[in-house]
């Protein structure tokens, strides 16, 4: 399992810090920024709670491709686009409230599956460079999405309400209001403690998803996925259909990303038709990495730690920046920089680790060869 054998002795503390350098760095940033920002604890906790409910589901869906050794799925945006298409229809048919959310989730599934299969197949043709490829797929499919939403919706795909359409008569407006769906999942059974609103139902959904992931790891498919992630050739020799397993991992990730995006958008209350999905992959990945995950290892714990740390930084950075430099934009840029920086660091550490491991294996092989020769 993912538990590491605990090492005793003086090196364990140093190792602990080394292995968790990114979360520790963020804890330090938050520790400095929170007092400076001057936010009340109630406000801060409430904001973090909101963002936890909004983002946790989306971040959890990144776990599947990591299990299958395909790295960070930058193409999770595909699921987000599927969810947006589904929500546009739901809004157009005027299905509101919880039923609207359920309908949008169901509608997003076939679109996500289709996109996921497409993405998985392309990634199978680009083994070893999945991340850059999935990154480019996200851009490419964004083009297709724009083609669909900006030009086909209206003349080809019927849209009933002209309020959704651009004044020119086709294409969807830049913002689609989900006013009557807004936070209906969060508000149902929500508990208020002081200034903090706890979206119980959303958290229950997230908890169920976590349980599903825990259960899924133990199924045959989950085991296969991890075997593929460890070593594709060994897995293939063991009779696992490597290509198919990889596609399944991406499809699952995309489908759950779609569901997660519906949760995300019902919390936001409106869709920015052409930009909601663009950054979602980036900051979900950043949050996961802040939580201490790496390109080849991620757990549920990383997700929650990551959401809390990353979004605390996100909330306090602009205010802190404004207080320190007198310019609020500094903080805004700082959090962008921190998001990109953390991804860069994680990628660099992963690649360096991979090279070191490769070197070690090479040395071992050489050693074994020498021993064989000497015998």
């Amino acid at each position: 399992m993912s538990m590491k054998p605990k090492k005793t002795g003086g090196s364990s503390f140093v190792e602990l810090i080394q292995n968790n350098s990114v979360p520790i760095m963020f804890i330090l940033i938050c520790a400095v920024c929170i007092p400076v920002s001057g936010f009340s604890p109630g406000y801060l906790v409430n904001e973090i709670m909101t963002r936890l409910g909004r983002n946790a589901f989306l971040i959890l869906c990144l776990i599947f491709p990591i299990m299958a050794g395909m790295g960070l799925n930058f193409a999770m945006t595909l699921g987000a686009m599927a969810a947006e298409i589904a929500l546009i229809f739901t809004a157009d048919w005027q299905v509101w409230g919880i039923p609207g959310i359920v309908l949008a989730m169901i509608l997003s599934i076939p679109i996500s599956v289709l996109l996921g299969v497409f993405c998985g197949q392309i990634l199978n043709r680009a083994k070893g460079k999945e991340m850059i490829t999935s990154y480019m797929i996200a851009f490419f499919v964004d083009g297709l999405y724009q083609l669909l939403v900006l030009f086909m919706m209206g003349p080809v795909i019927p849209i009933l309400h002209s309020t959704l359409k651009l004044p020119r008569g086709y294409g969807i407006r830049n913002t689609v209001s989900l006013l009557h769906m807004r936070q209906s999942l969060d508000n149902l059974g929500a508990i208020h403690i002081g200034a903090v609103k706890i979206p119980v139902l959303t958290l229950v959904v997230i908890a169920l998803f976590c349980l599903f992931i825990v259960w899924f790891r133990k199924t045959k498919l989950g085991q296969d996925m991890r075997a593929v992630g460890q070593n594709m050739d060994v897995a293939r020799d063991a009779g696992i259909k490597v290509e198919r397993t990889r596609i399944v991992a991406i499809v699952m990730s995309t489908v759950f990303a779609g569901l997660g995006m519906v949760i995300y958008l019902q919390n936001m209350g409106n869709i920015s038709t052409y930009s909601s999905h663009k950054q979602i992959g980036m900051f979900c990945i950043a949050a996961l990495l802040v939580g201490g995950a790496s390109v080849d290892k991620a757990s549920i714990r990383n997700v929650f730690l990551g959401v809390i740390l990353f979004h605390t930084m996100f909330i306090v950075a602009p205010a802190t920046g404004a207080k320190v430099t007198g310019d609020s934009m500094i903080g805004e840029y700082f959090r962008v920089f921190a998001s990109y920086g953390v991804i860069t660091i994680a990628l660099v550490m992963y690649e360096m680790k991979k090279r070191m491991a490769k070197g070690k294996i090479g040395q071992q092989l050489q050693l074994a060869q020498r021993e064989e020769e000497s015998q």
Partner: protein, 162 residues
Amino acid sequence: MKKIPMRTLLFRVGAVLLLAVIAYSMTIIGRGHTVYMDSKRLEYNGQTYETPYKVEVYVNDEQVAKLYDKERGMSIWIGQKFSMTLEITQEKGGAEETQEVSLTLPRKMDGIILNLPALLAGLPEEAYLSEFVAAPSEEEAPSDEGITDEFGLSTTEELPAE
């Protein structure tokens, strides 16, 4: 191609069907309507129905409107079985009387106008119910440029083509 066992196939088809059924039922029970209540004098079949002095409209125990003569209230409703509570004051200073009203909304209509005097007099549906057609408003158009992301920064895709 490998053969999929019958049981698995049935299970899959069943799951898809189940989702489809749920989705369809959601379009019915989740259909949202905007209900407008008009307190407006109405002539129907030669008879005139006068408005009460004041009507307070409660939907889901929440006051959505307090209507005097020729006023219009608005509420949203999910699903087709609409119910509201009306607190009617017939004359100024008179006693309040409470009346529960429930009716079935037509599924295809987005906006529905209910004429309260007609409704209270127990007239047939065609008398009290009519569709609300929004006048097309083009005012909100200009806010269409300047996309910002979660960071609040504009993500201009690329070099502007001049």
